[in-house]
Symmetry: C2
Subunit: 297 residues, 2 copies
């Protein structure tokens, strides 16, 4: 990173304090909390340290994004007023990446609109495994700003080496193929890829070449688990082939509502995630990955 680390500051929102502190410690940049108060009427009050260096790194993942986006706007504008001239967002989980076109006429293309807002507030956006589909580059989503797109493939591959002896990796759908293949290659593992049909917000159908799964330790890999229906349907489909075990690893542990319970009920005995989104399943820190990106800049 250019300049002395003393001339930089990492700020974390309360719910992301622990990963942000670990990152700060790893890269040797001072850390401070962003103070957040919620008024009874639903408004948020933000307070930053009263003097800031020129380079400020704000850390917050954008799961459950609406409230967090407004608070991020307040923090970014206030950081500018307090003297920050280079403002970096570290958001391992980026929101609104899936609405990347108007599926019906008149629909908001939220990815583009939110991306432009982030571009207004920040000079640099650092993220991990963004769920990009039709738009392939984050730089198209967040225009005229530096974007750093990291993948958790390496930390996940390193973690997998400590689990089963020669597990079979399962990518639930075509979208996951490139990423699952990369993880498999890093550890010399085999993988299979399913085919997914989404029926609605809460249900999907998975088709898999299952005969290779019999008596194997299976590890399902996906970038994100939201309702968990994809992993659940995949696990249910796999049970028919009598595997030795089924586990799952995701980068972004959203796990809304009763997702975790349903995954357990579907026979997934172990569920692991990176700490992109703070969650009880976090076992894979992104500290080194994010730290390298900050050091490289």
């Amino acid at each position: 990173m250019s300049g002395s680390n003393k001339n930089q500051l990492i700020l974390g929102f309360p719910e992301y304090r622990e990963p942000a502190q670990q990152l700060a410690s790893h890269v040797g940049i001072p850390y401070r909390d962003i103070e957040l108060h919620r008024f009874p009427d639903g408004e948020s009050k933000i307070r930053l340290p009263d003097s800031l260096p020129k380079k400020v790194i704000i850390c917050r993942s954008l799961d459950n994004p609406n409230r967090k986006l407004v608070e991020l706007a307040l923090a970014a504008a206030t950081a500018r007023e307090l003297g920050a001239s280079e403002l970096i967002l570290v958001a391992p989980y980026l929101c609104y990446m899936r609405q990347d076109k108007a599926f019906h006429a008149g629909e908001a293309i939220s990815q583009r609109i939110i991306g432009r807002q982030l571009a207004q507030w920040f000079d640099v956006v650092v993220t991990v495994d963004p769920h990009l589909h039709r738009v392939h580059k984050l730089s198209e989503v967040i225009p005229n700003r530096s974007t750093v797109t990291l993948t958790a493939a390496r930390p996940i591959a390193d973690f997998l080496s400590k689990t089963y002896d020669h597990p079979l990796l399962i990518g639930p759908d075509e979208e996951s193929e490139q990423w699952v293949a990369a993880v498999a290659q890093m550890q010399g593992l085999e993988y299979v890829i399913g085919r997914k049909q989404r029926m609605d917000d809460y249900s999907v159908k998975i088709t898999l070449p299952g005969s290779r799964c019999t008596a194997r330790d299976l590890i399902l890999l996906d970038d994100i688990a939201s309702t968990g229906r994809t992993l659940e349907s995949t696990a249910v489909a796999l049970q028919a082939y009598k595997p030795a075990s089924i586990s799952a690893v995701v980068t972004h542990a959203l796990f809304v509502n009763d997702a975790l319970e349903r995954l357990k009920n579907a026979g997934i005995t172990q569920i692991w995630s990176t700490n992109s989104i703070p969650h009880s399943t976090n076992v894979i820190p992104l500290t080194e990955l994010l730290g390298a990106a900050l050091k490289y800049r």
Copy 2:
């Protein structure tokens, strides 16, 4: 309003549909819903009619604002993409008007930051009784845009004439004086003004010249009731003077948590509000007030 009403469209968010439809009907402009879907992960999907006229009026009050602000940004940007060149926000209740300075070093001046965002999204902002304190004009909050600041004094005064015979109006604090005086003058009524000290988010202390209140029908007036502590403390202080009755009227009925129950317990027998924020206490429509503002433009 310039141009034919057929070349304009009023759009309402679902929770504000009824007032928006009444407004549309009153001014003779077609009305359409903004479709709003919430995904399980907390993201929002917005859909507008697939073709829009050049002049579009979006209606939504901004109570519980964070989620609503993000959805408003999605709607405004999408309206532009669908061809709207003049975009008007009708938000009878505007959010973040109270954090108008850094009370402690490092605090976000949310009023200014949110005001600038609204200025980015809309050409015109129409609102009612904004809670402005140290910044006196909405045009300073929402820079370089047309702002229309209405007051509910007239519709409230008209409503009061149908309640008690010569009630005594009570303004709980100095901030309310000008506004309470205006309402009183419209109906030739007397009023008294209290003095308020805010202790924290949830408690205030009110001092009143109470001797004039004995045996009178009292009507408390305020622009906004959030936790209701101001009205509650005022009513409690007034009880000592044995009034005939205590009622309350507010423009903006936030009434968070158990506010309404506490107000009843404090001896306020009737609570009325304008329909700025849809609420069970709404009895005073703002239709004509807002309609006149739209016609005048």
